[in-house]
Symmetry: D2
Subunit: 337 residues, 4 copies
């Protein structure tokens, strides 16, 4: 089957590679950078010089996969490409788009007879090798039409043990892709996946922080431990209750350097963690852990919050407390209040 | 009535002053600094050169108020003074002592016939003028004996409106002091007071942070506001649902300088916020807000947590994400994850 | 000055009463219930039988205050009234409207030359007596025109102590009303006010919960206290760091009944707490306490969350743990995991 | 090698079975229930009728593994057995003991020349088959002496991929057991393991709750999704960022029944989650996620908190708000505040 790919970043290029290698599919590729187009053309794809050229090289009904940063670029690319496409063509947004944008766009494209499919695509830099976990939203007939694409991208069953009691359920799910529901459902499920991801990461992170600080001076001497974090991460991978891929990655990082001195601790967040909390609020679902994980990232990017200055101002107001110097260790910061 | 005061810091000296001025009480005072002793002696107290001298100047049964930083100093001072006191003397710990230490100490002193009373004392630097709110733990007979002291220290009814439905209740409470229960109860109630204090402070602080950041570039132009925080704090003092003394102090600080540039945002915590959470855990009471307020202070004292480095290491592991530079604004820190 | 009031619920009727009594203003009133219209007419207002009648009784330029539940009713009422109004008339939304709705509506009304003003109005059932704290968004000229209304509604300076360092600042703020900025700013500031309100309330609530549970069987005998919550609330009103109006209300409720048996603990939330968190997320401001307070309300309205069932299912999966019965006390729920 | 096992519950019996089967070790077993002793004797162990008998059947230097519920039973059993043991014997506590109790006990036993080793043992009901992940605290020489025991209990390397960059590190760790440090270190690391476990569980749980509630009436029709939670859990196991053993267990449970109607949502907690937060507080490490996970369990065991009643009382106080009935759905609980 033939697919057109717009956007050859980390994800887009590897998806094309996997489709060609794994499924014997053909790809037409476009990127604003000629250089990256040339690279993927060198591996067997057909290149396009602009979007008109791109569309002209696709057989009808066309399949266009857009793999660009969520937001304005994706939006304007879909606007442009929609003007070039015909009835029954399909636009797939495989990026981290906000699911309500999917619903709005699909409504617009539907007026022109163009199908829209949203694919939440997980797998990061390992996808080419491991395959991509895909959460798909769209009309059943269209998603079924695209099945060869999804099947080639998916990790397949591999040696992951089968879950009992799944007889009679959709077998595609065990290959690693899921038709989650109508347009928007794919990105909705991917959004919650990322929300959970933040929570899991923060749980491990706090745990290792507690282990790391088990040796601080402020603790009584007989209650201090100097622990080997790399060995702890490793041993937990083996027979404990908490093994996971995220723990594997942590064990690797700690084995390379237990102090993680290569990292400053400035942690970005994508929109998906934020939208997860918005969804929880809309549904009146308490989501303390997922929210705390998001806020920890917000906080990591500020030297101090204004909130903290308010606290200091209040403390001086009622108690005459002067701020300790920044150089103080955390526990020296204890004082009567 | 005569009282002996050990410790003439911010709180101790003002308590002595208020007792002398408000209740016509006599005070014998001791501090390791001769200079501060001399200052209070100059205002009418009798000074002591050491603890033996101090004890010798007190009439039996003696009343010794200890107003020192909670922890080792208070502990060793009580040990020392206990050796000098006699049956039926009273030791009062008016500091921010951990309530379980009170219970332990009282048990030891009781063997010698010495009484122990714990007084959680709130009022900060304003206590001399406003009076002190006191939460008292100890045997009823002993607390009753000390009533003239507490009555003179307390703010009294003033012009604070009376709470309806209090007929038949202990009238001392409306004067601003409470016999909360047996030894330890005073500091337990004061501990929870401080735990609440942290939560209230953080609630205001977060609110003002949201107001402050309502004008950041990352927001859409038509959704930005440049707000006057000093005026907002002021207007909330008048007829809203959230007036409080803490808001008064915030309004004052913001009126002086809306940017609070005098403060860095490095926020200390005393033990009481911590013990409050420990108590919540012992009781299996969910205390999300009080805990979040404490953790915000912990976080304020670190440039980065180790947890944040773990997050960065994981993100690089699964997604190849490089950390943005520290110079980035918070919202530039958004990226695909 | 003349004002038209649509909506004579708890807030609307009292605002009209205060305007007539305090400022000598005239009011034309409308409500879908003839009975409540008749009641307010009996106190001196002019009644209207429908919106056409309402508009016809107002002098140009008209001032229409809408005091309805935020959402669909307010929206449709504004749509209807806008068709009846003329250039230079003013529509005031005094309800708890989402500030982005204000911005959208003002844009629409501006095309017809109609002004829009959003007023976040705090004061609850006490407003008639205490006055209303108002946070106002709109064009300066329009807000200035309405000043006699706001001045009459506001609490005025009263005996609330003045904040130092406010010389040269807008004196209206000390009367209890603030022109916060352009359209939307009023409800934005009111939204954050309510967000803070939730946080403050939850801080007190958790504190009292810890006090209440200080006597549970699961604690060691010598670490248990039976505390008088009504007296504790009362004493904290007097000289402590945490007095506030919310504490006054708590002290009253506890004095009436220390067990609060009249309440089940099912706690509603308005939109404003939710929007505050949405705003914090948009601004990347960590707002742990305000969020925890909101989530505690969500949780209070469910017997169990689905999340909790997931936890139980996992625990059975890895540890064979059976759920304890609902009848168990909280601490009996401890078990190996 | 010979081992004595006291306590033949879920964990103890399986450990003995694994030691006999996997390492060819001999076991002497004791339990207060003759019946369970008989069962394990039937599988090859030597049974003991009481602790004297038990000790007499062990060769010197004796190795006694205690596998009892943490707390009073473990404590008194160690006291008793210590009176029967001799210099150079070893007591191993393999339960979920508080690490500070380990330190205290080891100090006492050391006076008699008896060694103490704490082993945090993870693996739950699957340990017999998968092996046990062990985190060990104690003197090096003693831990080394016990190595055959640990090696037989551990899962071994299996087919878990090796972590890069571990050359030169302790090879036992890759077998699934770790000498973490001196006495107490084993249970300390296990404690944090459980703290993390709570956080991971809660992150998944909240995510599935958001998915579950994506179809509630309160949402706009075009923003609702009816999602298949079992399929979502399954697809995430395959190529996503969040696979883990806990997710495997969740997928199994949801495949059996998507509504989890077998569970009420009453979630116990062991001490270890609590101690983890206590440790974070002692170290001044912010641990929002781990704490929120613990508090969610506390909350799951109450119909309502007293805190929630306080909120309702305040809301009635300032706004005249009456509580909605319990029968209301969560979103009907929205109201002006």
């Amino acid at each position: 089957m033939q697919i057109g790919m717009i956007g050859l970043g980390r994800m887009g290029a590897n998806i094309v590679r996997r489709l060609m290698k794994n499924g014997g599919h053909q790809a037409v590729v476009y990127d604003k950078s000629d250089k990256v187009v040339a690279a993927v053309v060198g591996e067997g794809a057909a290149g396009a010089s602009d979007l008109e050229d791109f569309v002209s090289k696709l057989e009808k009904p066309r399949t266009v996969w857009i793999m660009l940063p969520a937001g304005a670029i994706t939006e304007s690319t879909i606007d442009t490409i929609a003007r070039l496409l015909d009835r029954d063509d399909v636009v797939i947004d495989g990026g981290n788009t906000f699911w309500q944008d999917d619903i709005r766009r699909a409504r617009t494209l539907r007026e022109k007879g163009i199908h829209y499919v949203d694919v939440g695509t997980s797998g990061g830099v390992w996808g080419f090798e491991r395959g991509y976990c895909m959460m798909i939203g769209g009309d059943k007939a269209v998603v079924d039409r695209l099945d060869p694409i999804f099947a080639a991208m998916a990790p397949g069953r591999g040696d992951i043990p089968r879950t009992p009691s799944r007889d009679g359920r959709d077998p595609r799910v065990e290959q690693g892709y899921l038709h989650a529901g109508p347009v928007g459902a794919g990105h909705f499920v991917k959004m919650v996946h990322n929300g959970i991801e933040y929570g899991l990461m923060q749980a491990y992170a706090e745990g290792f922080d507690i282990l790391k600080n088990a040796n601080i001076d402020a603790l009584p001497d007989d209650h201090r431990f100097k622990l080997d974090l790399a060995d702890i991460a490793e041993v937990w991978r083996r027979g404990s209750v908490i093994p996971s891929w995220l723990l594997d990655l942590t064990a690797s990082a700690l084995a390379r350097s237990e102090t993680l001195e290569a990292y400053s601790g400035f942690v970005a967040d994508s929109g998906e963690g934020r939208w997860t909390i918005n969804a929880a609020i809309d549904e009146a679902v308490p989501a303390e852990v997922l929210t705390a994980a998001l806020f920890a990232r917000f906080r990591s990017r500020r030297q101090h919050t204004f909130a903290e200055k308010i606290l200091s101002a209040m403390r001086e107001g009622f108690g005459g407390h002067k701020e300790s110097g920044e150089g103080d260790s955390s526990t020296k910061g204890r004082a009567a209040s």
